[in-house]
Symmetry: C2
Subunit: 337 residues, 2 copies
């Protein structure tokens, strides 16, 4: 191990707007040997998530910011290659917040074993990882869809939205996705079984919502914020529930977040808008993994990963999320399996 | 009755911004004799409410708009002076949506008897009327305060806010009011027993919230919207509940409603924002009246009415609400008791 070099990507500056290459520092250091209670993981795949943009900002949030000079926080999967904890033997497949680097030497309490018989590595960063947990608890716990409800989800072709829509279908809802571009719209309808998709880049959102949700939207699962949230607010059904999962349209805003001008629709429609943070559901992740894995096995849940190669591409690959260039879960392959 | 003249105020034009005198038409007509199932009411007091501004706008809302040429909708109390329904004998004290006029001949299904032993007429338009119902159900059902919670209420010296804060105190909460001007702030603290008041006209809201709610706000009951809602969002505690009762700061906006730019605080704090409409609670009004009346009797609940004389002053008196000139429930006296 002592001869292995760990290439890392650290936060060099707090970005203004879209993160630039100069906001990152590329470093390398010798790989450490794990002590007692520690585990050394060789990272195979990194999870790239919209939330990472928020972690780069200073200030109070649901999680502490990544500090300048710190290895960028990221979820990852890999193999244990040296271990100071018998529960994580060499060769074990694991998931954890290993960061944007090739090797992570971490306390074993931060590591979780994964079962590759249920799904291959990248899926443990998607449907069986944070995005899947986010979709599962955000939809079922926060939005409480009922059979027959009209469920609207933005970022529908993304890691979270694609799972949200499929769970809603499983629960007997009518599902409308919002995505950017014909390919994504075709994907969610033809491959994932959504009832309809709205291409926000080509269609007028309000006209499309009027057409696809003539009785209003009972549940809106919001990944994007901005004008899309405002349009959804304008088409709420009575007693609608909006789950605020994220606001990718606002994460790189340099002139302040745009608030939803139509928020008084909450009053008119006796509706609620509720935020949530997936980490709060950690004690129940097992329950979600079991159910999602069963749906994967039965074919009711489909996943797609958008895999890009090379740790060094991280700065540019991350931006695919904000440019809407990924289809499905965006994953960075750091090393071959 | 046939010789009585009914002076009425009708909506003449849909206002742009603040309603002007030319948006109203003053009409008179002979008082009708009630038929079977009808009741003729002599109006004594009219309720003036911020919500009336919304009723003057065209478009879908929680209630149909007042049409051009129609007598302006208003809650009112008065005496039955002729009756086609034995349940409402002549002389009975009643409340209902009698409109901005001196006499109302209405279907008896729209009339409710009131008990003047519990409180005098004007209180039946305030703490025991719609504002009281709004405060009771909006706070207890929608915001679900728990003993020890920090409860923030805007429009704190108004008809709804003053009751919200007092109920929250009864329930063991720490209560902070937001009001405009030193008199209102003194009133809610010294007379109503709020723990603190913030004068939004004289103080920086954020600084004051940081001072008065160092652990964050568990419940925010919003009557005003705008910058106040945004400030409250910035000081939410984990799992906070925001009840959207109204948005008086926005009702006369001519350039569109300003949305709450800090809405992502809902996500960070796992909080929810929920709208409600008091009419939904009509089946439970009796329950609220009984409890509010008991608190009035015990002295735990205090009320103040701001009574202005003369139907003809309606156009200007209504504006007191939007200028923040009323202290307590604004009532228009149409006739002496």
């Amino acid at each position: 191990m002592e001869n292995l070099i760990n290439h890392q990507i650290r936060l060099a500056a707090r970005p203004v707007g879209m993160p630039k290459r100069s906001d990152w520092a590329f470093t390398e250091e010798a790989v450490a040997q794990p002590g007692a209670g520690e585990v050394l993981v060789k990272v195979l795949y990194l999870s790239l998530d919209p939330a990472m943009r928020g972690w780069m900002n200073a200030g109070k949030s649901y999680i502490r910011p990544v500090e300048i000079g710190e290895v960028m926080r990221a979820g990852a999967v890999g193999h244990v290659i040296a271990s100071g904890d018998a529960k994580f033997p060499v060769g074990a497949a694991v998931v954890g917040g290993f960061g944007v680097q090739e090797y992570a030497c971490v306390n074993s309490s931060e590591v979780t074993l994964i079962d590759l018989r249920l799904a291959p590595f990248p899926v443990w960063l998607g449907a069986l990882g944070m995005p899947g947990m986010t979709a599962y608890f955000g939809l079922l716990d926060v939005c409480q869809p009922k059979a027959g409800d009209t469920v609207l989800v933005s970022g529908a072709a993304g890691a979270v939205g694609s799972v949200v829509g499929q769970i809603a279908k499983i629960k007997g809802c009518r599902v409308i996705g919002i995505a950017g571009g014909a390919d994504k719209c075709r994907y969610v309808v033809e491959e994932l079984g959504f009832d309809a998709a709205i291409d926000y880049k080509a269609e007028d959102l309000k006209t499309a919502l009027r057409q696809h949700a003539p009785k209003g939207v009972n549940v809106y699962f919001d990944n994007v914020g901005g004008a899309t949230l405002d349009a959804a607010l304008a088409y709420l059904a009575r007693n609608a529930r909006i789950g605020i999962c994220g606001a990718i349209s606002q994460y790189n805003a340099t002139e302040g977040v745009v608030g939803p001008a139509n928020y008084l629709s909450l009053l008119v429609n006796r509706a609620r808008m509720e935020g949530f943070v997936v980490f709060d559901y950690a004690p129940r992740y097992g329950e979600a993994v079991a159910e999602l894995a069963a749906w994967l096995k039965s074919g009711q849940l489909k996943t797609r990963e958008d895999i890009v190669d090379g740790l060094e591409t991280f700065p540019e690959t991350l931006l695919k999320l904000f440019k809407g260039e990924n289809l499905g879960k965006l994953v960075l392959r750091v090393a071959g399996e």
